[in-house]
Symmetry: C2
Subunit: 300 residues, 2 copies
């Protein structure tokens, strides 16, 4: 029974294709790993690489990508609209098939130790792999970002889980963790006013009384001259994409603002989109497993 883990490292480079390509090549050079997706965002100045494979191969590939990013990215020169603390900002392991969350937690701990020991980069364990409750959440770890963490990391409560209590001089620090499958979902607004996006983000996100399983921030996309609500949907089976979007639309209407488009960054499970189709088409008694042709042809 083959075990499949997904790994979705985020690197702090979204503008120089040659840098992104070299990081992706380092990941792909590990046998048994398949890179499914690379999304580079110039505004965020950040790339999201999605790959899958057996757990041991994924650990190797994540380490190779992190080592390449440490060679190629200098955080002293990095600017971008997305919060970040390091060249490899975050590496989550996600159970996909025949793998438990506990196995992904262990994988994160092994990778974190290795990054600290071999690359000298301080590592924070986050998500399900967190060893302190306040580190379950990435925003807590990233508070102050790369620039602020330079001095903050010396305070005991901000010491990393692995490695020295000081940032790597060019690669910063890295978050390594485990989490369930999430959907990265961005909603673009027909206004450049980032405060509108921020107010919408506050209204819809869990931490401020909004929808559970939703993290949201409001950011400004200078290349598009548009504000964006950038979200992570942590449990799209229970808090679906379409309901989140509808709430964003209602909140945006409050400011006379509308949605010009949305994007799914990286991968999405088919069921999330089929659920959205069923919702908007008002489908009654729809059973994807029985009615979607492709699902039936594969089975026969």
């Amino acid at each position: 029974m083959v075990k499949i883990v997904e790994c979705v490292p985020n690197f702090s480079e979204g503008r120089r294709p040659e840098v992104i390509n070299e990081i992706v090549r380092a990941i792909q050079s590990v046998p048994g790993v398949a890179v499914l997706d690379v999304e580079a965002d110039a505004d965020h100045n950040r790339s999201v690489v999605t790959f899958v494979g057996e757990p041991a191969a994924c650990l190797e590939a994540a380490f190779a990508g992190c080592a390449a990013a440490a060679r190629l990215i200098n955080m002293e020169e990095h600017r971008g609209s997305h919060p970040r603390i390091g060249a490899t900002d975050v590496i989550p392991f996600v159970p996909v098939k025949n793998v438990t969350m506990a196995e992904c937690v262990e994988l994160a701990a092994r990778l974190g130790r290795r990054i600290a020991e071999e690359l000298g980069i301080p590592v924070y364990l986050y998500g399900e792999a967190a060893r302190r409750p306040e580190r379950k959440s990435l925003p807590n770890i990233r508070r102050g970002q790369y620039e602020g963490l330079k001095s903050e990391i010396a305070r005991p409560e901000r010491h990393p889980d692995f490695g020295p209590p000081r940032l790597h001089p060019t690669a910063g620090a890295t978050c390594v963790g485990a989490r369930p499958f999430l959907i990265a979902y961005n909603v673009n607004l027909n206004t450049p006013d980032v405060t509108v996006a921020q107010r919408i983000a506050e209204a819809v996100r869990e931490k401020d009384g909004g929808l559970t399983n939703v993290r949201a921030i409001g950011i400004y996309l200078s290349a598009r001259h548009q504000a964006q609500v950038s979200m992570n949907l942590l449990d799209p089976g229970r808090t679906p994409v379409h309901r989140v979007l509808e709430l964003v639309r209602r909140e945006a209407a409050r400011y006379g603002v509308s949605v010009t488009g949305t994007e799914i960054v990286g991968l999405v499970p088919a069921e999330a989109l089929l659920a959205a189709a069923a919702y908007y088409l008002q489908l009654e008694n729809f059973d994807p497993a029985r009615q979607v042709l492709e699902f039936r042809l594969h089975k026969e």
Copy 2:
């Protein structure tokens, strides 16, 4: 290279499960055929069976289903809201994989001849298999339905393509044909007024100046006390489900009527629903082949 044909016979029985089950058993008894879906509709008093297999096996299975329906269904006693001319009302062959439309046309002709010769049921060839231009369209063949065709069939222009120019005394007549993949899509309205459904059907269907590739009729569902726009979408890649539904919604609003729900009868290609999700979620740059997790996992 395995050839896959889909066959979607419609039988004039949607209320007696024992009859439907016996017809399905007859189809399933043919080796190499997989029944993917059975939809019985009490209002239409009609069942739609979807099965796939290699061409020769599908021909066998379609014949077995037609023979069972001829034994079990008496058209003299049949009442239902969907137009029909026989116990087995229509048998389309649909190319799915490594099969041409021409092969499906030939399959239809062979099956039609056999139904006429062995069961004594007159057969009309329709769709891509039609031998007279006016028989491409089912409504032309079904004009007057079972009751009207009893006398009409004697007129030369309504003679069947195979078999005698008189209806089978209990099984009526059968349409056999070939067609591209279609989506059977019904939209339920919050009114029992069938004339509203009929006016909407006229507005949206190709034949009266509406959307191309759309056939539509308005019917009354007595079990639900609701009117319904019942449609076939003949080329959902070009005239997608979501655009058809939006036009129905606009037309319904004209009468102060709204949509309470919709249903897809039988199978639907995943891409049709993904396109609907992308439309309503306003997705930018969405690439299902690259971003839908299941499509990638199957490939690796």
